[in-house]
């Protein structure tokens, strides 16, 4: 359709309409609008309705009142929210520092074999969560006995427990598996940022008598602060949405034991589709998704107006 327009504009001698701009932009904009933006807006709208005869009935904020007011819903919501925050903090405090440390070591200019290490570190990130989940389930399984045997070899065999099955340790274990898998992404971003630090700046610091350790802390780290901010917000967003896959694989839709690994993703899935005895509810599903939308919006807002703006002042 747009193509024929472009032909006709060439034939007329008026100021040509720049159809090609439309041709370049329309396909991406249409697919993105129909399959990404519209569903999100429509979900926000659906959260204001509930099931009635032959379709939805407008109920205003009643679904939200239910979600936060009725103990049955509120307990699940806050439990999932709390678990997500634990997940987020653990990724920030364990995954991202490990990624930064490994990236710093990899970016040592004289290091041999950096490309090989990089490939190896990124490998787990490439794997499907289903694969990762099952691998670790096997390794941690008391049945197969790889970890008990390994711990015996280290002389700490008596500390072995079926961590994934215990309420007290399931969430932490799941998080550590997730860290094992995804450390590659912040690693790559940090590594690229560190490579981008200008050689002259490092050289100048070296002439000033700083050693490698202090050059990292005083010169490189301040320069890559924007990347730290970016990794922070990506961790925040990913933890609320992407964490579903691993937990569903490892612990099932009920995020057991006893909901101890339940996150917003699994909660949304159960609410929308139902699970076992619970019936699925489109409108409550939309409400949970919308609540999650606002949680993410708050985080992104804080990042854009707080963190990023402050960081850019140091950015030369």
């Amino acid at each position: 359709m747009a193509n024929t327009g472009s032909v006709s504009s060439e034939q007329t001698h008026r100021r040509p309409v720049r159809w090609y701009i439309l041709v370049f932009l329309a396909p991406a904009t249409l697919i993105y609008t129909i399959f990404a933006i519209y569903p999100i807006i429509e979900s926000l709208r659906l959260s204001l309705y509930e099931a009635g005869d032959g379709g939805g009935v407008f109920v205003g904020l009643a679904n939200y009142a239910r979600l936060f007011g009725e103990p049955l819903w509120a307990d699940q919501f806050w439990n999932a929210f709390k678990n997500n925050i634990v997940l987020f903090l653990m990724h920030m405090l364990i995954q991202n520092p490990i990624a930064l440390a490994l990236a710093a070591l990899l970016s040592v200019p004289t290091l041999k074999g950096a490309a090989t290490y990089r490939t190896i570190f990124f490998l787990p990130t490439l794997l499907s969560v289903v694969v990762v989940g099952f691998i670790w389930q096997l390794i941690l399984s008391p049945l197969w006995g790889v970890s008990p045997a390994f711990m015996n070899w280290l002389g700490i065999g008596s500390f072995f427990k079926p961590w994934l099955g215990l309420e007290s340790s399931a969430l932490i274990t799941v998080t550590l598996i997730s860290i094992w898998q995804y450390v590659g992404i912040p690693l790559m971003l940090f590594y690229a940022a560190l490579l981008n630090v200008p050689e002259e700046t490092i050289e100048a610091a070296r002439i000033d008598g700083l050693n490698g350790w202090w050059i990292f802390w005083k010169v490189k780290l301040p320069l890559i602060l924007p990347t730290l901010g970016l990794v922070g917000i990506l961790t925040y967003i990913g933890n609320f949405t992407a964490s579903f896959d691993l937990i569903y694989t490892l612990q099932g839709g009920l995020a057991g034991p006893d909901y101890s690994t339940d996150v917003m993703g699994t909660f949304l899935f159960r609410t929308f589709f139902g699970f076992q005895a619970q019936l699925g509810d489109v409108y409550m599903g939309a409400t949970v998704a919308s609540a999650l939308f606002f949680i993410i919006l708050i985080g992104v807002g804080l990042y854009l107006f707080g963190v990023q703006r402050r960081l850019q002042r140091y950015d030369s």
Binding site: R18, F35, I37, L123, L126, F134, I139, L195
Partner: protein
């Protein structure tokens, strides 16, 4: 001084090798055991698949007795088609955004990258209704459209940032030579963005190949199942047949590995080429 440097270099390698072991050990365990007999898998999980303990039965049952090849083809189709669409449509949009001035260009630029911050999964409820009403439930088309929509924002962000840093002179001289805007895109811009294509491809590919959420919700049907979903269900059914489970896991690892090896050289070059800024 030199001795000190050598010691620190040994220390760095020690840390990096230790982490490499941590990253590789679980994978090696799966691949090794997938070639072993059931007995050997249990008796000696860390042993090598040599002599009596070697068996490729797991692969046999995965590749012949199951729908695994079908799932594999589905995943490959979905990933490759989505990737091509993301790269092509993303590059086209980024070219327009970085090259031409038109009313609303800034707004459209922001609108198109909004999806980086707002995950498409939040729209799942309405998305399922939309897909069903279009008659696309349980089709690969549904997944391709959704993944394309999901991948476009980051692709447009990276391509646009990159294209803005590229000099306009080449394009202008092509224009003087009388090339149409379309030919400029295909003959000048596409070769220009090559360094960041690998970056965009890897970052778009991983979440598509490995996704469990959308296959589970939009196309759980037998015919349109992807590897990730297929393995997930397969594991549930055949926990007894460990050889087959381990083989299916190993096979599911393979394609991403191949694609990564192809792209990995350019990946870092692309990220550092000013593509990803804070």
């Amino acid at each position: 001084m030199l001795v000190k440097q050598r010691i620190s270099s040994v220390g760095i390698h020690a840390v990096l090798i230790a982490y490499s072991v941590l990253a590789l050990f679980p994978l090696a365990l799966i691949v090794l055991n997938s070639f072993k007999t059931r007995k050997a898998i249990f008796r000696d999980p860390t042993g090598l698949p040599l002599g009596e303990s070697f068996s490729a039965k797991g692969y046999d049952s995965v590749l012949s007795n199951s729908d695994f090849p079908l799932y594999f083809g589905n995943s490959l189709t979905v990933t490759v088609v989505s990737l091509v669409l993301i790269l092509l449509l993303g590059a086209m949009a980024s070219h327009a955004l970085s090259e031409y001035r038109f009313p609303g260009d800034t707004f459209l630029g922001l609108y198109l990258v909004l999806g980086i911050m707002v995950p498409i999964r939040l729209g799942t409820v309405a998305l399922l209704e939309l897909i069903v009403s279009m008659g696309l439930a349980n089709t690969l088309t549904a997944l391709i459209l959704v993944y394309t929509a999901q991948g476009l924002p980051i692709a447009i962000f990276i391509f646009t940032e990159f294209l803005r840093s590229v000099s306009k002179e080449i394009k202008d001289s092509a224009r003087i030579d009388g090339l149409s805007e379309y030919r400029i895109f295909f003959e000048v811009v596409i070769p220009l963005v090559r360094p960041v294509i690998a970056t965009v491809a890897v970052f778009s590919m991983i979440p598509i190949w490995n996704d469990l959420w959308f296959p589970l919700i939009l196309s759980p049907g037998e015919e349109s199942r992807t590897v990730t979903l297929g393995v997930q269900q397969f594991i549930g059914q055949y926990t007894v047949n460990w050889g087959a489970v381990l083989a299916s896991l190993s096979v599911a690892i393979l394609p991403v590995l191949v694609m990564y090896v192809i792209f990995s050289k350019q990946l870092i070059r692309g990220i550092t080429a000013g593509a990803v800024k804070g």
